[in-house]
């Protein structure tokens, strides 16, 4: 039953997940990002607290069902700072797969660099993701987000964050989408949701869980 709910959530949701691509040892994370012009679902399994394997599926809903990419990746926590009142991380993802996001099906390489830092009140993240074929840059995606916790909750409480996110998306055919979105993030234990409405009018929904 639990698995069914999780799989259903995975199918319904999507994400260029603004979460940690590597979680605690032995964990599996499912993340989804959805916007009208891009979805990204991913599932990651962490073999170590610094190493995970991921499977990603990208689509472009506004262009129909045949624009998608599927990529497998190795996710590495390159550096973590565990301090008294904050945590900061640098991650790299490297992978390969097939993409027809912009052109005919072709083999692509996948890369992601991410830095994030947070304490209990503030949160900042910057990341850059690329899908690159032998000859061209299929897709690139940059996210910068800053968050603020309106209240500080205990471990078992319902936590919420106000997040402002800037996104730059660039596809092969030079379709560029720059977008600024305020998000409300709510999470309880290992279930996290984000919902936002961008200044360009796009509704976004993100979902993350790990178990």
């Amino acid at each position: 039953m639990r698995l069914t709910i999780l799989m259903l959530a995975f199918c319904l949701s999507s994400e260029v997940a603004n979460a940690h691509p590597v979680a605690f040892k032995g964990s599996t994370g499912i993340m989804g990002y959805h916007s009208p012009f891009l979805t990204h679902n991913q599932i990651n399994h962490s073999f170590e607290y610094w190493l995970a394997a991921g499977l990603h599926h990208f689509t472009r809903p506004n262009l129909g069902n045949n624009k998608f990419a599927t990529v497998a990746s190795v996710n590495i926590l390159a550096k973590r700072w565990n301090e008294n009142n904050l945590q900061a991380n640098i991650y790299f993802n490297l992978g390969a797969g097939r993409s027809e996001l912009s052109t005919e099906p072709e083999t692509v390489g996948y890369g992601l660099v991410q830095f994030d830092i947070e304490d209990r009140d503030y949160y900042f993240l910057i990341k850059h993701l690329q899908l690159v074929s032998e000859e061209q840059l299929e897709f690139q995606h940059t996210v910068i987000r800053a968050g603020l916790a309106p209240y500080v909750e205990k471990f078992d409480g319902i936590h919420s964050w106000l997040i402002l996110e800037f996104q730059h998306n660039e596809f092969l055919e030079s379709q560029i989408v720059d977008d600024l979105t305020p998000f409300l993030r709510v999470f309880y234990r290992n279930l996290l949701f984000e919902i936002g409405q961008s200044f360009n009018g796009f509704t976004r929904f993100n979902y993350i869980t790990h178990f």
């Binding site: 390159a78 008294n84 078992d156």
Partner: protein, 150 residues
């Protein structure tokens, strides 16, 4: 192709001196900790054992006393309180609760984000070695900050 090579190079060059170096250092310190624990008869992890190590010559006796003192401070039979560095996000901290609760000796775990403490309640008569505690904290993605007296 160029991008992949570039990213690989950056990734490896950063990961080796940063993440993996840390990992290696942690592994080393873990090893040395293990060996020192062996040398002390795992005294810091089991009050009974530390008592049995008590009957030696005077020099050793002094050493055992200090061990016993720290044991008394660090571990009570039913509850262990641990300082965990980096414990700022409740979503990420689920792993620490999960990792501890998987242990046979552990009855329940509670996380205090305000004080960055993890309280581990043990089943009666059970103990948890410090090396295991440290490993559980590390595998959850945090840094072990030692025992805390409450």
């Amino acid at each position: 192709m160029r991008f992949i090579i570039l990213i690989s190079t950056i990734g490896l060059s950063l990961a080796v001196p940063l993440g993996f170096a840390d990992q290696h250092a942690k592994h080393k310190s873990h090893k040395s900790e293990k060996s020192s624990q062996k040398a002390h008869g795992d005294a810091s992890n089991d009050g009974k054992q530390s008592k049995s190590n008590h009957h030696h010559d005077k020099n050793e006796e002094k050493h055992d006393h200090s061990d016993q003192k720290s044991t008394a401070k660090q571990i009570s039979p039913e509850k262990i309180v641990i300082k965990v560095k980096g414990l700022v996000c409740a979503f990420c901290a689920q792993g620490i609760e999960k990792n501890f609760n998987r242990q046979e000796a552990v009855k329940s775990t509670s996380v205090d984000l305000d004080k960055m403490l993890v309280q581990v309640h043990l089943h009666q008569g059970k103990t948890l070695a410090e090396s295991v505690i440290k490993e559980l904290v590390t595998n959850a993605g945090f840094a072990y900050g030692g025992f805390v007296e409450e």
